[in-house]
Amino acid sequence: MVRAATSFGRSGVSDWIVQRFSAVILAGYTVFIVGFLMLNPGLDYATWHALFSCTAVRIFTLLALLSVAAHGWIGLWAVITDYLTERVLGCKALPLRMFILATYAIITFAYVAWGIQILWGK
């Protein structure tokens, strides 16, 4: 029996799909931002500020941040359930994994809230 109470979607298939959808969003966002920076070599504040004044760009950025939160949770869960195991660490493994995921959850929530403030604040 796989105990998946701490996985993102409580199901492997759900995590698999979320991981891929969020990956595609993040790949698109990366190409968009890096492409914009490459096409505007002598970037000034006005151009940069205008880009992020655009509602579509703000929504895309928030979507990317939420994708980071989900994608990061699934990735981190996969990594720590592979390496920080009972076999390696004994009974300390579960509390340690719980602590890491809880810390990640708080930090990533802060990232998202901070992002919203940057995008829609003032």
Binding site: Y45, W48, H49, G72, A78, Y111
Partner: protein, 124 residues
């Protein structure tokens, strides 16, 4: 399930094949970026705050230290992106054989190296 079934997942006793290195680097670059996101959000805040803050970030980017940090984050991103695209291609059933997997892994290493080198040229 028998809890005492024989398992050997002790990485220190296993010689990793090229696919293994590509996988572990994918994980490593992912964890690096979870930290890197902090820097990127901070950068977004600083550059959008005011023209003065934008200028000071721009000035900061002329220093070697800042360039190395951003190159590191972008390198992790470039590698993770290429290795992730390989996963999506494999999900479509392409390159799933042992030989295909090895070839794909080598291709990831080559493309990622070129991208990271390109990023270095772009930043300097």
């Amino acid at each position: 399930m028998n809890k005492n079934r024989p398992v050997n997942l002790d990485l220190s006793t296993i010689t990793l094949p090229v696919t293994g290195y590509v996988s572990i680097l994918h994980r490593l670059s992912g964890v690096v970026m979870l930290v890197g996101v902090l820097a990127l959000i901070w950068l977004l805040q600083a550059t959008l705050k005011s023209a003065e803050d934008f200028a000071s970030v721009q000035k900061c980017f002329t220093s070697i230290g800042a360039k190395i940090v951003i190159w590191g984050i972008l390198s992790a991103l470039a590698y993770h992106l290429v290795a992730g695209i390989r996963h999506l291609i494999m999900d479509m059933g392409i390159g799933e054989t042992l030989e295909g997997g090895r070839r794909g892994a080598k291709l990831v290493l080559v493309i990622a190296t070129l991208l990271i080198a390109g990023l270095g040229v772009w930043l300097w």
